[in-house]
């Protein structure tokens, strides 16, 4: 999700490593914003993996990564300072 806070743009998003994912879908049900969904692709082990299809809705709460049994999810936080009122 991209959010403008006074003089900062904050963006959070997740990445799913397809080779680690086994498609248990725990993250899909745990995510409060519905960021993650099942893809229609298979990895080399034959599992259907999940993808962050709606990353623009991510708030960076890390709930998906907390319940992922396969350490497939990475959460990123981006920050950029722009011109505007200071704190």
């Amino acid at each position: 999700m991209e959010k403008v806070l006074k003089n900062k743009i904050i963006q959070t998003f997740i990445e799913v490593e397809p080779e680690r994912c086994k498609g248990c879908l725990l993250c899909v049900y745990e995510c409060p914003e519905g960021v993650i969904d099942v893809s229609n692709k298979f990895n080399s082990k034959g599992w259907i993996y999940v993808e962050p299809l709606f990353n623009e809705k991510c708030t960076g709460c890390k709930k998906c990564a907390m319940v992922c049994p396969d350490l497939a999810i990475k959460v990123f936080l981006g920050q950029e300072v722009i011109a505007g009122p200071t704190d």
Binding site: C24, V67, P69
Partner: protein, 252 residues
């Protein structure tokens, strides 16, 4: 834009992909233990003991010194390691077939002696690795391969063993808790419990025991999301969560 990684796998976990089935609780618990080891900064002096069961190859996933014990003998091996290397932090990681069935004698006596070890007990109410047979912790009425009509106490099949309560009844253990790994909140709670158990050992207080209710969707024949709901709704009725014994409530 400046990018920061705010969630990644802990340093104590290796890059190896786990062999566990989709939705298995072991993966989350491995990560929790690794995070606790990272946070306490004890990676160089911690020794883990892998059980026989699904977590038998846990030494591939943790980048720490590991030892493999014969079926059920984790507590005995941990006792020896701790006595030979008092400066090491020794923890055992056991499933319910390992701890509650064949290793119950070792576990009870190690707890009763108050050995300075930490035991993490993963309770999934079935024998996961061998194909889903009835375990001592299988719930009454639960269908498994060896109890096709459901576990029936009237047919001399008995009741589930509440191991955490049994350990808490003894005099020597200092910390006994039961938690689960089904949601973000419970994962945080489990992490707090395991961190406390390690801290108590580091301070030389005594035996600590953490039981973790974990899902086995493959052998319960339900999907991982339903498995977690089943733990929260059915398993916690017979295995209530909470702290059963805490001699040092001031230590976090």
């Amino acid at each position: 834009m400046e990018l920061k990684l705010i969630f990644d796998k802990p340093k104590t976990m290796t890059d190896t992909k786990t062999h566990y089935c989709p939705g298995c609780g072991h993966g989350v618990l491995h990560r929790i233990v690794a995070e606790v080891i990272d946070e306490l900064g004890i990676k160089d002096r911690v020794i883990g003991i892998a059980p026989v069961g699904c977590a038998v190859t846990a030494y591939d996933y943790w980048d720490i010194d590991m030892c493999e014990a014969a079926h059920g003998r984790v507590a005995a091996v941990a006792t020896g390691l701790k006595r030979a290397r008092p400066d090491a932090i020794v923890f055992g990681y056991q499933g319910d077939g390992d701890l509650a069935a064949i290793g119950l004698a070792e576990t009870i006596h190690a707890a009763n002696r108050g050995e300075l070890i930490t035991i993490i007990f993963v309770n999934n109410a079935t024998y996961g690795m061998t194909g889903g047979q009835m375990a001592p912790t299988t719930l009454v009425g639960q269908v498994t391969k060896t109890s096709p009509k459901g576990r029936n106490p009237n047919n001399f099949e008995g009741y589930p063993l509440r191991v955490a309560e049994m350990i808490a009844m003894l005099e020597a253990p200092v910390y006994v808790e039961r938690c689960m790994v089904t949601s973000t909140e419970s994962v945080f709670n489990t992490k707090r419990a395991i961190k406390k158990a390690f801290t108590l050992q580091m301070q030389g207080k005594g035996y600590s025991f953490v039981e973790v209710l974990s899902g086995c969707p493959n052998e319960w024949h339900i999907n991982p999301v339903e498995a977690n709901r089943w733990i929260e709704e059915e398993m916690t009725k017979f295995f209530p969560l909470g702290v059963f014994k805490d001699k040092y409530p001031e230590i976090k």
